[in-house]
Symmetry: D2
Subunit: 283 residues, 4 copies
């Protein structure tokens, strides 16, 4: 038996594996038959695969979480199908730890076991950061939906994804109103391609610094007073937030390319405000 599972106490029925091995031989391999249609497939594989993973965080602790994977390869025109079970085998063999070292290894293993030129891996997962409240310093755990998108072969890229909820306060509303200003929760989605390693925490902090105010898990009254006034003193349109993130990403030489989207769940409308910037730096 080839796999073992980190949280499995179940004994596997190693039982009839010899027999199984034999019976595989005798069953037709339809996927492997030639295909006459002469059409190569760009990507083929498995999607919405849920798998428990660990992601190393900035404090060098390996944080347990749950990944949702898409794993694909290219399929040359002369094969009828790919072997879907091998994607899962590779994931069970190598997928428990997800980081900059394991991801290229997983992709190489996919290319090799699937006899393909190119392999792609996309994974999203909830990621937690301990974050002190701004005045009381009480620690709360904030969750961010993060991910990686890697490719190796005919295309090669390594993308890091962070979705960061923030507060935005409307500069127009503040300017024209005698009191108050509408504000709301917004979501900033960043996809970056780094030249060199960047921690998820660093991306998250650059984004939080770009908003009217950062969000927190536990806020006592002095904290709530602080975040209210801080947001009021830092009004930001979606246009401002997307530009402020852009400034920070432009200034960071480790970042080669990025897309930043900001979506505000407007507190005065039922629809959302939206802004997007996409850049690739020339070396």
């Amino acid at each position: 038996m080839k796999w073992n599972s980190p949280n499995a106490g179940v004994a596997a029925p190693a039982a009839n594996s010899n027999e199984a091995e034999k019976s595989v031989m005798s069953l037709a391999d339809i996927q492997n038959t030639p295909d006459e249609r002469n059409i190569p497939i760009d990507r083929v594989g498995v999607r919405n695969v849920r798998f428990p993973i660990r992601v190393k965080d900035r404090s060098n602790v390996s944080q347990p979480t749950v990944g949702t994977f898409t794993l694909t390869v290219d399929l040359p025109k002369h094969f009828k199908g790919t072997h879907m079970s091998r994607f899962l085998e590779v994931l069970h063999d190598y997928g428990h730890q997800i980081d900059g070292e394991s991801l290229p290894m997983i992709l190489e293993e996919l290319r090799s076991r699937l006899n393909s030129q190119t392999a792609h891996l996309d994974v999203e997962f909830p990621y937690f950061m301990a974050k002190p409240a701004p005045v009381t310093g009480n620690i709360g755990l904030m969750e961010y939906d993060c991910g990686f998108s890697f490719s190796r072969g005919a295309t090669e890229y390594a993308k890091v994804i962070a979705k960061v909820p923030v507060a935005t306060l409307c500069p127009c509303s503040k300017e024209i109103s005698e009191r108050g200003a509408h504000n709301q929760r917004g979501l900033v989605t960043a996809v970056i391609e780094p030249f060199e390693f960047v921690w998820l925490e660093e991306i998250i902090e650059m984004i939080e610094d770009s908003a009217s105010c950062s969000l927190y898990s536990v806020l006592k009254r002095p904290d709530e007073k602080f975040v209210t006034e801080h947001a009021y003193d830092n009004p930001r349109f979606v246009e401002d937030v997307v530009r402020e993130v852009s400034i920070r990403f432009d200034a960071d030489n480790r970042i080669e390319a990025y897309t930043v989207e900001v979506e505000n769940f407007e507190s005065i409308h039922a629809h959302n405000a939206y802004a997007m910037i996409e850049r690739r730096k020339s070396r």
Copy 2:
């Protein structure tokens, strides 16, 4: 052929229907075979059925929209299965207009065609109201997710559902802060059981009146100034909104029972604030 579709220009292949009729006779009716397990089923039917409908609005215009239906009946212990296609036949025959008259008729038809004691219908649909901006009076179309949940037979009820997005401004944040106050979009979900007919528009307006401010589709600057100041002058916790809706529903003698939920997409947290009141009036 029994159905016709309001937006179908396609000619149906009436073709082989005689033959079909015969072949039905010869095919076993497994659903109709006896079941020995002695277990009645509370509800059985179809779910997530999408169907174009019309809903009459307060201005007596029949508004076209798209319904998502669940249709179910009870199944006595002695039958193996229900006849799923009949739910769709009833919907195609009677479901194009959804209102207080057609719904009981659809339920009676389901009970009759499915030979069941009780029938249930749930439908949700986007519903639009033309709403003038508060200062300029510019008309914008606001969308609300609404629905009906009806039952006839051993259980009898008629529920009206409205989900209304609103603005809420935090009274605590306003009180303790020197300037500004955090506010956000919230969603109020009301399920009411009326003694007598109530328009969806009336429920929606009672809810919008209970929040810090109503939402709008098109707001020019004088409108935005108005809604900002109006929200600031009417701070409301989720607790306040749920109580304000409750007061209005209690005062309306057409309403027999209700559940009101308020969920705030807090602009200072990544999680939501929530409150719920459930009441049944004694006549």
Copy 3:
């Protein structure tokens, strides 16, 4: 007052519009102030706007449905913000009918009112087709999530989107098993860029012809026998479906470019099988 709503019987408070006009003049236009950050924004606008629309179908009937819109423009580096309300004004003025003629007009209007070089419109909507059952010919309404994605200005494209649920039956399972074969619902998502006009119905039918079997709303027993045997006689991997669609799109000279994705909700796994082909034809 400039707008009127097709399903609004409500009289608009034309009231204080003169006063409003005046007050606009006196309120600062923050969006219009210069921006020193020197960063143009690729796209800025509104998202998740729900609006009742009509879409002309192949039978030349204008089908009422509900659109979910994203409307964006580019923002030059020297402006602080865009004027979000104008997107909604354009939608209320021109958005009730969505087709190949109205879409370019909406985009031109957006470019003009927003003083921008480029405008983009994305809209998704449920779309219904009347479809006869394969044997009895009974007509049922099938729903498909469709959409358009148009751009005019510095980028110019016109994309048509159709999401078509189908049945797929596994060729490997059929070959190696003594009886039966696993099959399941799959979803085919096609995005095409046409040289010339193509009906949504034509795209949907090309996709349905590529699967093991098409889906239906109302199936009586002779129909169910037919679709069961038809799927068994036409086994298709996701790889087969994506190639079969590709063959049909390649053969249609009205289609310039396309992306086809197939996702199978496998009945033997909790995850999905997936395949994708992306092509641009050289004239």
Copy 4:
């Protein structure tokens, strides 16, 4: 400072906590002010709180996963509001391990810190089981969405939730067709109230035994042959599956009450088939 986070290497700015303590004293406690509306609130609290947790599994390993929480209490009519931050404090203090022992403790702590009569906790989380393939015995990790819903005070209940994807093969289609039979993925949702402790794994297995076939993560060809034929030999309507689960739950004396729902993502329709049974046993 009272909390510490398991995956936090960040040093908290314990800094200005004395000052903070003082400033809390001076800030008005709006929530604590009397309310004149005379309306008690059934439930008030926080929703969609994401938090890393551990859940003990049958092999006595504490499985790390991510919980999505709703925490609520009742609010007497004489208080204006609840203190939302205390829900988060309780979660950070006690919520890292979720099991039959910690849940009542968390609820007691909520009742005490929120000065309320009744407290409710709902949590959902992905849960993994190592499961051998039926022939080769290869171990794959299967994910199930599970949860707990507990209440203490004026209402007292303890509910265990498991959502289990399965395969179902249609008995009617098999009977009337000369070859094949349509089958599909279905989802069984069980909510049980136990008299005594029941492992999630036990509930999941009772449900999987009730379907046409269980789902697997990794299947090699001999496994695929097995599951195809096993499903074909065990045809089940949604009505059959819901009854089979009901038989197993009825026979298990540890289970006091249950609701079982089965929803089939039909491979011949775009809509779903559905069945539901709800039972409470008399002791």
